[in-house]
Symmetry: C2
Subunit: 321 residues, 2 copies
């Protein structure tokens, strides 16, 4: 066996580069220079679910990103997970549920209005063979822009013309309170104005639900406040299968499933979010439930196991058929 350390391998690369520069030929196929369509189908009972990537947000990480953790511990958790230490790649993945009678979309992506690295939802929905007009029901987990902005185009037009939009009453009451813009803390002011832009002139098409409500056949709301005041998880069940849609109960699992007690500044009520996170992760682990996380690496689904003082996500293994 020859040596094959990283150093040896890279020495080979240098050799190859010099050989390459001497070559004028091009491969018959050009570089694609883009990722393939990023969608993943799976079944829950008789339902067909499709995880649809909207890309990701590379969140710069400063020492204040986690309110109650030593920044060195946060950087170590990222390095241990082979993530860059200075910016966290936070994936966005919406979930389409075809119950057979209804097409239900859970969260809508960023609408291409947040980051250059996000906004692929529309292309992936098209790759799934579904048009926006076919969506019957949209469930919104909470009013942060990466979940609601896809409801509208940049020109403030409704993107899903036939969909009934369902949101938690508590979420609506918080963000749409007429007095909020005048009193909101500076760090959420942008979110407040954005939520009002999205919903104010389509309020007639929005219905409100409470925790426990049946939102579509087999799909029910689970109160999961903390991340935002009306943050919701969802249970999707058909036959003997189910998936617990965690929404933003945990942001990136390498940080917050592993360390559920950590409070990212993204969680509006840090302590309530920790309590919700621990409760849902603990139940998912005890019941060996399949979970889907909006900010989990694509396709975003897996199982939760206990590990040390926290948990780990065991990602699903891609089923090719």
């Amino acid at each position: 066996m020859i040596t094959f350390s990283r150093r040896d391998v890279l020495a080979g690369a240098a050799f190859a580069a010099s050989a390459l520069s001497a070559s004028r030929s091009l491969a018959a196929a050009p570089f694609a220079s883009m990722q393939a369509s990023t969608l993943y189908r799976y079944n829950i009972g008789s339902y067909e679910l499709t995880a649809l990537s909207d890309g990701l947000w590379e969140r710069p990480i400063d020492d204040k990103f986690v309110r109650n953790a030593d920044p060195a511990d946060v950087r170590k958790a990222m390095t241990d997970a082979f993530l860059p230490a200075d910016k966290l790649p936070i994936p966005f993945t919406a979930l389409l549920v075809n119950t057979g009678s209804k097409l239900v979309l859970i969260d809508t992506g960023s609408g291409g209005q947040i980051a250059a690295t996000a906004g692929t939802f529309n292309a992936n929905l098209a790759a799934a063979g579904v048009t926006p007009a076919q969506i019957d029901i949209i469930l919104i987990s909470h009013f942060h822009p990466d979940h609601i902005n896809g409801i509208k185009t940049k020109d403030d037009e409704r993107y899903f013309p036939n969909a009934e939009i369902k949101v938690a009453q508590a979420e609506w009451d918080f963000w749409m309170d007429e007095s909020l813009p005048g009193r909101a803390a500076p760090e959420i002011k942008g979110y407040v104005l954005n939520a009002r832009r999205i919903f104010r002139n389509i309020a007639d098409g929005v219905t409100r639900f409470s925790p426990g409500a049946e939102l579509a056949p087999g799909i029910s709301a689970i109160g999961a406040a903390g991340h935002t005041p009306g943050h919701s998880a969802f249970a999707v069940a058909s036959g003997n299968d189910s998936v617990l849609v965690l929404s933003d109960t945990s942001n990136h699992p390498k940080l917050f499933v592993r360390h559920p007690e950590w409070q990212p500044v993204l969680d509006m009520d840090g302590e309530a979010a920790v309590a919700t996170r621990k409760k849902l992760l603990d139940r998912a682990a005890s019941d060996r439930m399949l979970v889907q996380g909006y900010h989990f690496p694509f396709p975003g689904s897996g199982h939760i196991v206990r590990s040390g003082s926290g948990f780990e996500l065991v990602p699903v293994e891609w089923q090719p058929l």
Copy 2:
């Protein structure tokens, strides 16, 4: 917060099912009833790599699948990984490397000749925008059917008309030895006949390499015998990036990366395979090298970390762009 245990959720499903049976309407989009195209692109320096799924093989697991492990331990490892306890889903993932000047394919999939759950390579290659005629070089890790059968159609025609095929000298010498069919052990007889079917009448288009050989710009062979007599890994390097293509150095990582000392019956020389596996995994962990495994869950790439008495695969996080 309402209850959301698996039992509660499934009770909701039963309710939904009764509601559903009363409904006659259908969703606007039918079930796709198939997985989306399963390909994943990533860059190594200036090279563009594409992992192309060929599906998987559901290998029934009996008590003899791992020669030197307690069957109960094997079943526990599978259950802990949320895999079925009685059959192991073994993914097949080929790797296309576009160096800019050459299109290099590492292994070819099953050619649809092995299992109903495999054979999607051709469709995924097409989805990648590449035709078989565009492939310049094919590197073969070893002569098991899930790696070589894609070289030919079921009708014994060459599938990649313009590709130079490169195989390890030791692998060729073992399988193509004229005396082997008469003396091969019963358990490999099918593999022997299959390898001869694939290669015998195209031997002119096959060149042989030795460990350490440069096979294409930036791509070199690494001797990794044990799984088969001439089993090869590959290093792909460009600029400051590299990936170690492990081929079948380890079968499913939840069993054999976790327990590198376990000897699956698939490894022809169990002890040599264990030594190779430990050596490559140890080096990958020490150097934090990106690795790609033919039988790792799609897209098959990740990093190796030490864990307990073995290792763990930390899968790459899907980059959507």
